[in-house]
Subunit: 270 residues, 2 copies
DNA sequence: ACCTGAACACCGTTCAAGT
DNA sequence: ACCTGAACACCGTTCAAGT
């Protein structure tokens, strides 16, 4: 039903995303553009960058080989010279976004001040990325990992390698470093996924102009939800993140100590 | 590159999923099937059930209105009488899967043995569902919630209501019940998403028949990853889940106590 | 060397028409 | 009342052809 729906459907959030570089307006059709060809010849990096920007702007569902092509001023088929297909495009997007971490000066100086400091900065770095690309992050969380046998899919073996290096150098046994890796990534994944999807919803709730923000469900069945509405919708994500991260690091520290002493009486296992 | 690839692409994992009810072989074309019409007239529940089964079998990417239709012995267009569109179909799938919880006797007797017992059973119930429908679970974790202002998207207001009811009846303040709800769902989300995507990868790793399960990346750059391969690929998910859940519940108990006493010196905030 | 046109098989969705 | 055929606009992807 849903009569007179706004532009709420998924396939296309905006009709025409307008080619990103204005560079001379229409410049209609098929004539010259002399032998010095038409702009720089395209490459994988530029494609991935454009894809990320496109997803940030229009959402994942709107990303299409054809639309991405035209955002780059090119026909879709041209992309296939640089990217094997749509799925691999998405893999590349995930990898590129994760690799932003290594350009982040807050994160890059690995273990200068101990492993807890490193994990703190890493977590905040990942969080910054998640908040910067909320439409991309679910993809990061959801795609299968590069190496099938590395369990947690926060992808990018560089990341795993660096994590394990720092922890084993800080007194973690191999077992507890791996356990820590798992606990840490599942924490980040869960927390940030929640946070990002919250933000997404707040933003996408731009339709219902005022009053009953009710999405059609009958709320009267859920009195406590109504009563606690104010608390439930409050956004304390910064503080929540800080608290939960600190708690996790505390847990890891005790695992580390147990590992060092040889016994493993509680906490984690690998 | 990837020469001679097996049937590894996403769009169609199997060429023809064969109509699920054999019911009389070919029975070629357009003749009779007298006025007593062709089988039961389709309905929303049957459609959602078929969609879940289809996704479990063939993966999310393979679910298509047309293919789902033909799995039900019907043209795609017939589905639109019962479901407004593909997106809403997916919403329905998520809701149906989550609602399995309420048919689960392990979970349903709400707070018979205290809130910790309740949260234990609930977590295990959700985990059972995640493991039973690994292809559906990412959808559960990823779709926006029914009520925009309920932050964590483990959807289904019934679930939220029941959670809050039990906790506030067990001595949690409103604030700490909400904080507990958030911590609990982000834990479940992160942990199960990781676990499920691990399983999915293990299964989909059926292609590389033996030896180098390498996906093309150059592993030699990541010596520690190689060295710890055995540990990293080990599956202790049952024990890990148990440990992490127990730890979380311990944390919640201390929050509960603090809330009762009026002070809130550590742990969570709402 | 790099891009495009045309084509193919497949999508979601609408609507008038069949039974 | 319930389903289908035909149609529309849009996909991903291939490949021979253009420059």
């Amino acid at each position: 039903m849903d009569v007179g729906g706004t532009e709420d459907t998924i396939p296309m959030r905006r009709p025409d995303p307008e080619p990103p570089e204005g560079r001379g307006g229409a410049r209609a059709v098929r004539s010259a553009d002399p032998p010095l060809s038409g702009r720089t010849p395209l490459d994988r990096r530029r494609i991935l960058g454009a894809a990320i920007e496109f997803v940030d702007r229009h959402g994942l569902a709107a990303l299409t080989m054809r639309r991405l092509g035209s955002a780059l001023g090119v026909e879709a088929m041209a992309l296939y010279r640089y990217v094997p297909g749509r799925e691999q495009l998405l893999d590349g997007v995930v990898e590129t976004v994760i690799d932003e971490l290594y350009g982040d000066p807050e994160v890059h100086m690995e273990a200068a001040h101990g492993w807890q400091d490193y994990l703190q900065r890493l977590a905040h770095g990942v969080r910054r990325i998640a908040l910067a690309h909320p439409e991309v992050f679910p993809l990061v969380a959801t795609r299968p990992p590069a190496a099938p046998w590395v369990r947690p899919p926060l992808r990018s073996l560089r990341w795993v390698e660096s994590f394990l290096t720092v922890l084993t150098a800080s007194g973690f046994t191999a077992e507890s470093a791996v356990a820590a890796y798992r606990a840490y990534s599942s924490f980040l994944l869960g927390h940030l996924l929640l946070e990002v999807s919250q933000k997404g919803v707040q933003i996408n709730a731009e339709d219902a102009p005022e009053g009953v923000s009710n999405t059609g469900t009958d709320l009267s069945q859920y009195p406590l939800v109504i009563e606690l509405e104010e608390l439930l919708s409050r956004d304390e994500s910064d503080a929540e993140f800080e608290d939960a991260l600190e708690n996790l690091l505390g847990r890891l520290e005790s695992v580390r100590r147990e590992g060092r002493d040889g016994g493993r009486p509680g906490g984690f296992r690998a």
